[in-house]
Symmetry: C2
Subunit: 548 residues, 2 copies
Amino acid sequence: MKWWGWGVDGVAFSHDDKPSLAPFVQKVIDVDLNAPAVAPLAFEELDVPASQLSEDLEKALSGVLGAEYVVSTDLDRVVHAFGKSLRDLVRIRASDLRRIPDVVVYPANEEQIVAVLDAVVAADAVLIPFGGGSNIAGSLEAPADETRQVVSLDLGRLNKVLAIDEESGLAQIQAGALGPDLEQQLGERGWTLGHFPDSFTHSSLGGWIATRSSGMQSDKYGDIADITKALRVVQPGRTLATRAVPVTSTGPSVREMILGSEGRLGVITEATVQVHRKPAKRVVLGYFFPDWKRGVAAMRAISASDATPSITRISDARETAFSFATRKSSKGFSKFMSSALIAVLKKRGWDLDQMCLSFIGYEGSEEHVARQRKLVKKIVSDHGGIGVGEGPGALYDQKKFDTPYIRDFLLDRGALADVSETSAAWSKLMPLYDTTVERANKAFAQLGVKGYIMCHLSHSYHSGACLYFTFAFKAGEGDPIAQYDVVKSAVQQSFIDSAGTLSHHHAVGTEHSRWMGDDISEAGVQMVSGIFSVVDPGRNLNPGKIVD
Amino acid sequence: MKWWGWGVDGVAFSHDDKPSLAPFVQKVIDVDLNAPAVAPLAFEELDVPASQLSEDLEKALSGVLGAEYVVSTDLDRVVHAFGKSLRDLVRIRASDLRRIPDVVVYPANEEQIVAVLDAVVAADAVLIPFGGGSNIAGSLEAPADETRQVVSLDLGRLNKVLAIDEESGLAQIQAGALGPDLEQQLGERGWTLGHFPDSFTHSSLGGWIATRSSGMQSDKYGDIADITKALRVVQPGRTLATRAVPVTSTGPSVREMILGSEGRLGVITEATVQVHRKPAKRVVLGYFFPDWKRGVAAMRAISASDATPSITRISDARETAFSFATRKSSKGFSKFMSSALIAVLKKRGWDLDQMCLSFIGYEGSEEHVARQRKLVKKIVSDHGGIGVGEGPGALYDQKKFDTPYIRDFLLDRGALADVSETSAAWSKLMPLYDTTVERANKAFAQLGVKGYIMCHLSHSYHSGACLYFTFAFKAGEGDPIAQYDVVKSAVQQSFIDSAGTLSHHHAVGTEHSRWMGDDISEAGVQMVSGIFSVVDPGRNLNPGKIVD
C-alpha cells in the first residue's frame, strides 16, 4: 500500500488516454494537467517521530504475538497513522505526522486480540483497529495530544471465510478480510457478499461494519448494516457475541451499537453476513435524462414502483460532463454517444449542458432482469429519459474502483479534491442539492479560488436517497487544509441545514464529529458517549472519534 | 378494554358456529368445551391495593395535566397494571394484583410528557409508558417489591397522524395511535403503514417500536425497525430527536437503541415512519403441502428466488388440524377442502395427517401480482405443494385479529394457552422445531397433563425465518402459573439451545429476561444495562425490564 496516497504502488491515474480531461480541468478549476507535477516526498524525507513504546508493553505484546508481529518501523507506523482523506494526504505530503502509532501489531486470531487488548488496557495505552486504511473521516488517527502509548492493531491476518452455511445464505468471515479476498473465497463456492463500496479493493469487512458502509449494489443487497447478521467483538475484559438470527426483539440492538462504532466499542474480529448466489444475469444499463430534476424524479418513481433494480445512480450535469471528459478515445464511448444520438437529443429539444447520465443495474434470472428493464424503461420514458444500452454501464463497471486514484493525481498538480455524502428524504433532496452547490460556490468565492462541485445520487430507498458530492478546486496561497476546511464545512453545514445527515456511509471519525449534536440531538450524543464510557471506561479504545 | 382479558367488552370467541372445535379440543387436551365455563371475577371481587400516590405528586401531575387527566380509580389502575400474557390473565382472575400503578396519567402532548417525567423524577417515582396494553412479555408491570410511587403514562391522547410527506412516503405519527386509528387516518389520504401484528386492534405505534414488533405483511413492508425512520423520545432532562433520513452512518444507532427499549430509555412520543400507497391489487392465496419439511423448504426457496410476496406463512400439521377444527360450517370452507380435492391428494399419496396449510400474499400492480403468483406456483409445485385458491386466504384475512380472544375462552374452560416465537437461520429451523416440540411434550408429561403444541412459520428472510409456537394444556391441580412456567421455560430454553433467539417480535420484558445473557452474551447485557444507566441513572423508567 502507498504510504502517501490511494492504493498500491505502481498503480496510478493517468490522463494520457483521456484527451478531453486536461481541457476540462483547465476550464473548471484552472489547473493545467500538463504542467510538471509535484511528486510526493521520498519516504526518507519524512520527519517521523520516534516510537514511545515502552519496553514493558513491547515485551507483553511480543509475548502474545511473537516479536515478528510487533513492528515499530517508521514505514509501518506511518502507513497505519492515517486514512485516505484529503486532509490525510495533504498532511502526509507536508510531513505533518503528529501522533502516529508507536507500534503496529499483527495478531493471527481472536485469542491473541483478547491478550493484546488486555496488555493495552493494563498499560493504559490506546488501541486503534486498522482494516484496509481507506477511511476518509479521520477515524484512524490518535488525538494529537495523546500522551499514552498508541498501538495500531492491523487485522490483516484475520482474512478467512471461516464457514458458509449454504442452506441459510450466511457466511462467517474474519473481520480483516479485504473486499477482493473475501469475494474470491466466496466466489470459489458460488457465492457473493454483494458489497462493493468505491474503496472495495482496499477496505475490509470489519472496516465496513465499523463505519456503516454502503456499496454500489446496496439497493439490492442492502447496506452493511442489513447484511451483518451477527458479530464477535473483543472488548476490555469480555467478548461480545451475538447470534446469527435474521431478526430479534431482544431489547436495544447491540449489533446496531457495534455498527458504526469505529473501534470505540472494541475490536470486531468476525461477522456472520448474508451471502447470495451469483445471479444468472447481471447488467448495468446507461440512460440519459434531459436534466437533473427529471432524472432524480425518475429514481424516486422507480423506488416507489414494483421494480427492484440493483443499482440506481444518476449524475448531475456537472458530473456527467466530468464523466464525458474522462472517457477514453475508444469505440466503446463513441458507440453510445454517437453524433446520431446527439442529433436525436437536440431534435427533442435537449440542452446538452443539462443532460444527466444515469446507470441502472439489474440482477437475477434472465426473465427477472427482462421484466425489471421493462418496468424501468417505462418510468425513464415517462420522465423524458432515454436508454443508451450497455456501453456506458460496462465502462462504469470497469472504472468503478479507479476513482480514488484521481485525487492523488490532482493533488500532484495543485488541485484539492474530496467527497461528502448524505442522505435525505425525497422531498428534501432538491433543496439540499441546491443549497449545497450554492454554499460550495460561496466557499470557493470566499477563498478566491476556481472550484467545481458535482454530485450523483448513489442509492435509492423507499423514503429517500443518498446524494454523493465531489468537490475540487485549485489550491490558493497558504495552508491547503484551511482552504479545504472552508469548503468541506460549508458542504457539511448545508447537509445539516437541509434535513440531511452528516454521512450516509463514510462515518463520523473526527471530520464530522462537531455536527453530531445537530444530527442526532444532544440526547443522542449523550447516549453514544455513554455507551462508549460503559464499555471502555479507561478510554483505551480509539478515543476522540464520533463524539468526544 | 376488558380488565380481565383480551379486547373490548362484548366481543368474545364462540365455538357455536364451529362444530369441529369441541371434539378436537377434547381429543388433544382433554378439555370439554361444552362443560360449564368458569367466568372471571366481578371487578368488585378484586382485592385492589390502595393507591400510594402522595399528595405532592398528585398536585404536581394535576398542575401539568389538569385533575381530570390524573386518575387513581381502581379500574384505571387495574387496566394499566398488566399486559395480556397468560400469566397476566391468570393472576388478574386470581386477584393476585401486587404492585399496580398508583395513578394513571393521560397527557395530551409531548410538552406535558416532559413535565410529567420531570415531576416523576423529582419525586423519585417510577414511570411506565402504556400504549395499547397488549404486551405478553411482562413489560408493563412494576416490580412486586417496588417501594416508590408508580405512575402509568397512557399515551392514548397522542393519537394523530401529524403530517404525511407524500413525496417521500413518510408519515409523522404520534406514538399513542392504535393500529385501526392510524390506518384510518392514513387510509383517508390513500396511504397505509402496512404493519398488522396479531395485536393490531389493541396496540399502538409507540408500543410496536418499544417492543420491535412485526406484522403479518412484514415480508413486504419490513418489521417496525425497518419502518421507523425517526423518533422523538422524552428522557430525564432532555428530549431525543433523530432525523428522518433513510440511512445514516453517524455512529452507533440511537434509533436502534430506542427500538425494543420497552420504556427504559424514555417515553416515545412520536415517530416518522415509512408509508406506502395502497396497492392496486392484494390477494392472499392458500396452498397445501404434503408435510412440514417440504413446506418450509418451499418458503426458503421463495426467499432465495426473485419472488417478493407480502406474506409467507405455513402451519405445521398440528396447527393445520387446528385451523380445520375452527372452520365454520360454511360453503367457503368446503369449497377449498372439497371431497374432490381430498380424493386428489390421497391419489397423490398424501398422508392427510401430515398435510400443512400455507398462506402466501401478494401486493402490487395486477401484472406484478400475476408474475409473483407464477414464480411462487412453480416453487410450490417443485416442493410437492398445490394451490387451493383464494378461499382460505379470505378466511385467514377475516380471522386474523380474532385469535387472541380464544385464549380467554379456553381459560374459562380450564385450559392454559400461550405463544412463544423465535427466529433462526434456515439451517437451524428444523432442528429447533423438533427440539421445541419434544421439550414441550416432555414438559406436559412432567406435569402429567394433556398438552398440544403447534407452530407456523410467520415471516421469511433471506437467511432464516420466524417460527411461532402456540401451546395449550388442561390445567392440572395446583398453581396454574407454576405449570405454565414449566412449559414456557422448556420452549424458551429450546430456542436458546437451538441457535434461535428469545423472541422475534414479542420483546423481553420480565418473561424472557433471565435468558438474555445466553442470547446476546454477557457483554451484550452489560451494554444494554449500561445504556439504561446512562439515560436513567435514577431507575425511574420502567425498571426491571429486559435486563435487571
